[in-house]
Symmetry: C2
Subunit: 383 residues, 2 copies
């Protein structure tokens, strides 16, 4: 019997690969996609460019951009069987269950699903980016017993998603806001969902299998579900003037508050900083009472963290905290937050698969066995 080895619970601090896709600097609150700061991309780029950048390692030329966006538009519509599946599930299951199942089903439209050549993989990912946004939108429609809306090729990718969900073409402000959310959720190194994509890909399973694993993993409340949970908390606070008291009591009770603090960021999440300004802008646009209250709660909570909790407890706002109120500005239901996360993150997941397959190694860790050995089998009559 050997001595008990070090057990790396949660693989905390364990390096699993080298990567040139994104860097998260948690101490200084910085994030880069392929070397470009998230601020520069949020201000000057759009989701189509950012996806191209993540997948191909460089920003597209005009011609490359045109081809890429053309593919996205052409592939945004959903096959009939997938629409049928979404309709069957949408009123009975969480939209993430629908997303996981419908994405898994997409494999049947690929004539060569196991082709792992980089060009083929990249092409499959473009399909997945296009269709997962439409799956999210269709799920939102069917949940409310509304009809499926086919894509509008005159719109950009994220604006088209909003159109397919709401039936209204978004204005400039709404288009900018939804695109920003897509950009900010596109990639974040090997968090649990991206890592699960890689574990699946490491057996040389296809991209549909790998990203389906990512969706299931993102569903968990410790991961992708945080923005929906943060919104629930804001709804529980109800009146903006209760914000500080509610948070103080929650912190004293040592409750986990969703959207507060982050495993990696030990300062203001740079993505949260970027969407922060949309809170004021949205308030200025005279939203509904519900949205107004949510925005005010978010602003008061943010103030509390920046002026007090950050310095004393290292608790800073993260992107999940502001996402909820801002999605509500766009009229998006809480249950759709994580499916939108999926549609955006598809670019990051796909980039990681292509990179990992460039130097693939089957993921096969070990466990330390602490059970019995050589128990005698006793027949059932004598048990």
């Amino acid at each position: 019997m050997s001595a008990k080895p070090v057990i790396n619970y949660g693989l905390d601090g364990i390096y699993v690969d080298e990567s040139s896709i994104s860097k998260v600097d948690g101490l200084n609150g910085k994030l880069w996609y392929r070397g470009y700061s998230i601020e520069s991309l949020a201000d000057q780029s759009n989701y189509e460019e950012v996806s191209y950048l993540l997948l191909n390692g460089k920003l597209p030329s005009s011609k490359e951009y045109e081809e890429f966006t053309k593919k996205l538009k052409e592939r945004s519509d959903l096959p009939k069987e997938v629409i049928d599946l979404i309709k069957v599930m949408a009123t009975k299951s969480h939209p993430m269950d629908v997303m996981r199942t419908a994405t898994s089903m997409l494999v049947m439209y690929d004539k060569d699903p196991n082709n792992r050549e980089p060009t083929s993989t990249l092409d499959k990912i473009v399909t997945l980016i296009a269709k997962t946004a439409s799956i999210a939108a269709a799920t939102g429609r069917f949940r409310e017993n509304k009809e499926y809306i086919p894509p509008d090729p005159s719109l950009g990718h994220s604006a088209n998603f909003l159109y397919m969900l709401t039936g209204k073409k978004p204005n400039e402000f709404e288009s900018k806001l939804i695109d920003l959310m897509f950009i900010l959720h596109a990639e974040h190194s090997t968090n649990a969902s991206t890592f699960s994509v890689l574990v699946t890909a490491s057996t040389l399973a296809d991209v549909y299998s790998a990203t389906t694993s990512g969706i299931g993993t993102l569903k968990g409340p410790l991961h992708g579900g945080a923005d929906e949970a943060a919104l629930s908390m804001m709804n529980a606070i109800g009146d903006p003037k209760n914000t500080e008291k509610y948070i103080e009591e929650a912190l004293e009770g040592k409750q986990r508050i969703m959207g507060f603090g982050h495993r990696i960021y030990k300062t203001y999440d740079p993505r949260a900083k970027i969407v922060r300004r949309f809170l004021d802008e949205s308030l200025a646009k005279e939203p509904s009472d519900e949205v107004k209250r949510l925005l005010q709660i978010a602003l008061r909570a943010e103030k509390m963290m920046v002026e007090k909790l950050g310095a004393t407890k290292g608790i800073w706002p993260n992107v999940d905290f502001f996402a909820g109120p801002l999605y509500r500005v766009l009229g998006i239901d809480g249950h759709l937050f994580t499916p939108i996360f999926v549609a955006s993150r598809m670019a990051g997941w796909g980039s990681h698969v292509v990179e990992y397959w460039g130097n693939n190694k089957l993921v096969r860790p070990v466990e330390w066995y602490v059970g019995s050995l050589d128990l005698p089998y006793v027949p059932i009559a004598q048990r």
Copy 2:
């Protein structure tokens, strides 16, 4: 810039948890489920008992066994919408794609899918064990344009699977053989698929999400697909007398030969040893010419490994090697091997989820960033 850390490619040798579910002793070729040797379970137990043992940590009493098998029988039938989905996909996709999608869809029949209490989780796993076997069988039927066969409650779990697939009640020999395959595939510590189940579960996502990840991961040719690949090789060998020459040439060409050698077992895989005797028994039963050839090839290859390759190259037969010919004895198509693996392994996956949630830790490893930083954003017109 810090120095490059150790990168744990494939998490080789990295301990991720403690476990009392199974122990694999790769050096001595031994395997225990919950402390019971795989030989004692293969000889004296059956799949229902083994599943109960894995899930509950002890062998069932007569009363517990009765309740457990009753649940399995009651839940083996498939809902209409799932049958429809399988029918839509079965002729267009690999059965593992069907299995992944249909299992993901099962969540919609669970009224409380996110309940993570151990009793609820165990109950969901019983449903998944029951229905994944039926999904595999139905997929096999629809691939050949045959009708769905509802379960026969007079049969044991694995025999019922064979009945739902072939429409014939298996004889004693066939029942023993399929049950053995189910037992031998039920659990094998944290290989890639089981680990991917845990990564997904670690975000507190539901059991359907977690096992769906396992299915996608098991699909990969480096993992669950090995028995199907081994069968393809035997078909390529064609004539038994070509066996040795084919293998020698393959080894010289440094090709990976499926079913030969194992990442963990450095000697004869104990599961392979158990099924080994069924090769002779099956031959004695005057099978079809195709099956006879496969069995003879398997026997000659085994002899070669035991007498020569084991000592010189450490290459021993593993369970995937014999699985193919024996499944063919039962009339099972190669495409269904991995779905059967899923149906059997569901017991192991479920056991790991219950155990992991007892001391849950979000899996979040890190990557070593090797890309650029602070690249200047250049507008598209100037690229």
